[in-house]
Symmetry: D2
Subunit: 409 residues, 4 copies
């Protein structure tokens, strides 16, 4: 069994649940707590978290509050989008991709502060516990990880609130009742699950959606946007150069306004059961469409097909929490190699929930009008070559057919 | 070299180009011509093709006109949709999947009529020649295949029309000028390419779209539809049992009305260059979304991930013309095995170009509310199991981290 | 937590360890025990197991002793060999493939005898616990599984022997000391691991090998053998038709005599660490070589390459214990589809540890001397076709090169 | 059609066939010829090629003779061995891997000498024409490639000899008759095919083997060898640091002496038919075994399994001639990433045709005796974790089983 931790770095949102965890760590383990609160673009103020942490007795030097949005998009979101990653064909992995960054900072802060443990607020039923912990162990094999939800006996809302009251943890009024569903958000997406969403036959109520307008309420006029790419990453919008996080922020605004990026999904969790989630990924949905658009003219067929073939495994690794694994890094090396010429501009039309590529151009284009034209191609392509091409591709099929005919006689 | 054919079965649409081919075969090879005209759901009358063939001297017993829509959907489209097949991430393979059926009938008719050759009207630059011919050779290794576009010197529109006039082939008035783009259509899709579409930077003009309304012109009110599945195939719409072709026809109406299924794509052809196509697949786009929806609750994660991993290769095989290949049949066996429980109903919302799953239910469901619930699960799942699950999944990552740490000292 | 089992079916070898488990189950859980002892070809008498079970108080009707060798080879070994399965490039999966069969019989016997639990003697560090239990749960989701090695506190040899003495379990003299390594055996292989083998830098001592002579001691004269195949399975040796288990037995004799099938491997376990094993698979090694030999002439290239690509995942599934999973069954459907024409005969040369294919022939052969010959091929193949084949395969590479040249200017 | 070449760089061996080609190029095209003769370790003197070229009228500045053995092993053989590449499970790709290097030098020499074409002596039936030409076009999209065997009418041995005599090309006495089989050799392997080998049922005659002794004639005493690796490449033998080509030369001596590396294979050619080859790869066979040996302790399971899964496609790309393709380079990036810690030493036993790993050690080892030991592991591994690991891995299988049970009621 794990020996008791002496000092623990907690992934702390400032909310009720992680405040209870903070106090529980202090009381259960009698250990010093360091808090880490990250701005991943979830759209909440961070300073209240500092005040709450102080209120709960955390020393100022043990409170870490950081804006990691640029790092998040540059080092996690963008590398993933180079792969056109979709889990189970549809999910853009918005929650999955944020976890390794949080774990990385927890481990770094543990090293800085001399902590021997980290803690998180993910439950024992979900994927996030796995993602947090695999990343943590991959970065520090000796770290202790505390997952209070798997340990404590605060198994109902009532018990949690009792614990909070007993420990003078302030409870916002609207937290007294239970939320009708659970939410996770960052710059890439907002996910909602649980409670009212647990019956996958029932359409999600309108009020679940928080980040995108209903397509019915989106503008009646389409909007066009041009996204510039360099080596597979979005670097500009409508000609204006932007940083990674700023690109994504801007695309979120556009997508949100046009009702783009909603997904109602039942997915297979790594821990074994299926769950239903409502995802809103407005900017990411546009970005995926645009990235495919620029790859269409700049990426060779052989390269693209290999990428497509490996994408599901890559997405699965991220979903399952293996960002910091050799196989994810190997796949990333392969993917990044493919992006050297993925540079150019894509024009998209946004309208009522749909983002569609309608044009793309690039100095790196492999599209050759000379070869494809229905007009005279001035000798670029000799149609007679196709006869030999077909004959040799057919040869093995002919040999099979001849064998089968021979045997059936 | 191939010896001269004596009797050839021609894939004959009744249009100007294949009428010229018909005459050219007669004059160039002096051979008897059999015509095969198929109703694949392209939306054209077939009887005029009979009259034209007769006019060009084809004996009545050599004119084959058939409605193959049910066979097309049942034996080609549906098996492909079981795989969620998308070529290069986006293309539903509407043209590719029709070619093997045509070749199959050409070869069968050749056997019935004692013909030693088949002929088609695909050019030497495209994928269709490959698809026609690989299928033909796979079904009859001794068949001769004639591809006039690769052989003759009718290399311009002017020469074609001259040939037509010299040979008394009637030319419809609107065929005097050149079409602004080229079209292929069947029950699954309509594709347009060439001419005005050859610059992939330019948005396709509105008049290119023929089968779907512009999303802007689609109804302002969403429409819901429920699709029933059995073993992976759609069998009913809104509770009404329908045959395969009827299901697809009905979905095409729904999709066309709501502007669903438009795609502007630059793709990598098997013959080596990139080309740009505008595809409209209204019913197929709804069907893919619905099939993924029913798989979400009825298909195991391990099964689904394996399917997803192999889908790109399966799609590539169909795109490249290898429908009648052992590897496509092997993949089909794998895919069909996975569909045994893909039975149930999906509810979708159709609106302004978008088809979205909003609910799904099935007696075959693997979704377990008892396991996933945020509420008390009555012991269905022991959260403590997750700790061991994570520890053993982490073990190899810890060993790597410990090794790297050891070496860096 | 699991409620206490009332009646448990134990995988019982009759050896000291499983006898201790038998007694421990009786004392710890106070439950009725049913024993299952299988002849998998491990080369031990089974009747002593019956006597021991009776001695330990098992009712006669609760003692199941069965010869499952034919089922083992026909339904498990042969299907696996159709895939040319090798784990981590080298391991023939001899232990892995036996576990699902044992679990299957445990579950069936539980149903017959009204037992609510099964038990096995695998430790908590190895793969076998996973294989036993995944199979058991896949066949009966409500079964209880008891793995005494993960539960009890008999953590040393001394404690085990004390427990045995206290419970009147007879201890064979040679079991007083510890074995220098641990052994598992069945008709497919013998594996040895642990203790003296734990340092992977040290060559395994000669006395570890039990089933194959040292190559140095093998006959100085090569021996030839001809193996007949039907649909991928070996059905005859030197012209004599044999049952599955008899084929493998005979190949084991041949391989053992010639020192064939030894492997010294460090492998990655599913539970996370690496382990070192010495494997002897004499007949299986010959069979794999022969199966590849017959596939060489009877299997199409496209089919074979797809199989090769998927083999590592198939092997991993078996190694990890997922025999009874949908994805293994899907892969099996694919593999079995590929074997329809894998019928014919292979001639091998056996000599001093090596089995090499030296000839193969089949009515189902796809090898065409007419096509491949250096001599005049009478028009079977037109070398000029190769020019077109190469041009179109090269086209995309030329477009890349032209693009890169253009950019570098 | 290709315009006539003005200056052509010929891959020139100095043998009769390429001498005939040289003269044919001069007479057929009236073009200037540049010869390139490479020492790839084929074991022939190169200076005679210079004299013959001069005799045939090639200007001294147009004669290029080079020792490329180090480049061959370092930049082609070693990268390929990092992947453990085997084509169709068995073939070490000895011919395939040499072609891109030759094409690279042909293209470079063409640039240096202002030539507009290259020529090779591969026939129209084999893979080598494809490999030469795909590489050439990938490196220079505008190069002309001349493949005389596909063009000329010298279709019999008699015609070739007549042409030689008419053109004063000296014919070695032993070339008057036809060779009983055709040979290709380089530092990695010797391949033999054709003529007496064309019946795959017949064992290859002893005299075909040229580079390895018959196992029966190999020493009766095993020999041990230790091979040191750094980042996946062999760098030393028995403790002596050696250059890439020297390592391979030394391993060839060892393998040849012990009869190691013989293969009798029927393989599927890229051009569509099956062919039978006898391959001797003495050093390469040892190297593959050793590389797998060192990976066993230094490579993580996840990394290794991904490599294994992709190996067949990587091997196919090399076999088919796509060395200079983006997808091969992408896979190489993935593979090279995996080799960063593949450093250490392997001990092998060589005996009568067999090379077997018997020990391996490394500072980079991931093998942990503490974790795997049968003895007390001092808490390195908690066996109870396995229970949770199994439960969650089993969960989806249980849900399937429960579903199926429910439906069968």
């Amino acid at each position: 069994m794990m020996s008791a931790p002496k000092k623990v770095v907690l992934a702390y949102s400032g909310g009720l649940d992680t405040s209870i965890i903070l106090k529980w760590l202090q009381t259960e383990y009698g250990c010093e707590v360091v808090t880490f609160t990250a701005d991943l673009g979830q759209g909440e103020e961070l300073e209240p978290a500092r005040q709450k942490a102080e209120l709960l007795g955390i020393k100022p030097e043990n409170i870490f509050i950081e804006d990691v949005r640029e790092e998040f998009v540059r080092d996690f979101v963008f590398p993933m989008f180079r792969a056109n990653a979709l889990y189970e064909g549809l999910y853009l992995l918005g929650t999955s991709i944020a976890r390794p960054l949080i774990s990385k900072r927890l481990i770094e802060i543990a090293a800085e502060t001399g902590a021997d443990a980290v803690a998180h607020g993910a439950t024992g039923k979900g994927n996030d516990q796995v993602r947090f912990e695999l990343s943590a162990y991959a970065l520090n094999p000796d770290i202790k990880v505390i997952a209070p939800w798997r340990e404590w006996d605060l198994s109902s809302r009532t018990k949690l609130l009792e614990f909070a009251e007993q420990n003078q943890i302030p409870i916002a009024k609207d937290k007294r009742g239970e939320a009708p569903f659970s939410v996770d958000a960052n710059l890439l997406h907002t996910s909602s699950e649980g409670k009212v969403l647990e019956d996958p036959a029932q359409e999600a109520p309108d009020y679940v959606y928080q980040r995108t307008v209903h397509p019915e309420d989106a503008p009646n006029t389409p909007e066009y946007v041009e996204i510039g790419f360099e080596k597979g990453d979005a670097v500009s919008i409508n000609g204006e150069a932007l940083s990674p996080a700023t690109v994504l922020t801007k695309l979120n605004e556009l997508g949100g306004k046009h009702g783009i990026g909603r997904l109602d999904l039942v997915e297979g969790r790594f821990v074994g059961m299926k769950s239903r989630g409502i995802y809103e990924t407005p900017g990411g949905t546009i970005l995926l469409e645009a990235h495919r658009g620029i790859e269409q003219i700049t990426m060779d067929r052989g390269a693209g097909h290999l990428k497509d073939q490996l994408m599901p495994q890559y997405a699965e690794l991220i979903y399952n929490g293996f960002w910091y694994s050799p196989e994810r890094e190997m796949l990333q090396a392969l993917i990044d190699k493919s992006q050297e010429h993925v540079t150019g501009t894509v024009r998209l039309k946004l309208y009522k929930g749909l983002a569609r590529t309608v044009g793309r151009w690039s100095d790196h284009s492999l599209y050759s009008e000379a070869h494809v034209t229905f007009e005279d191609d001035a000798g670029a392509y000799d149609q007679k070559d196709a006869a030999g091409f077909i004959q040799l591709n057919a040869l093995r099929l002919k040999l099979i057919a001849a064998r089968n005919r021979r045997l059936s006689k």
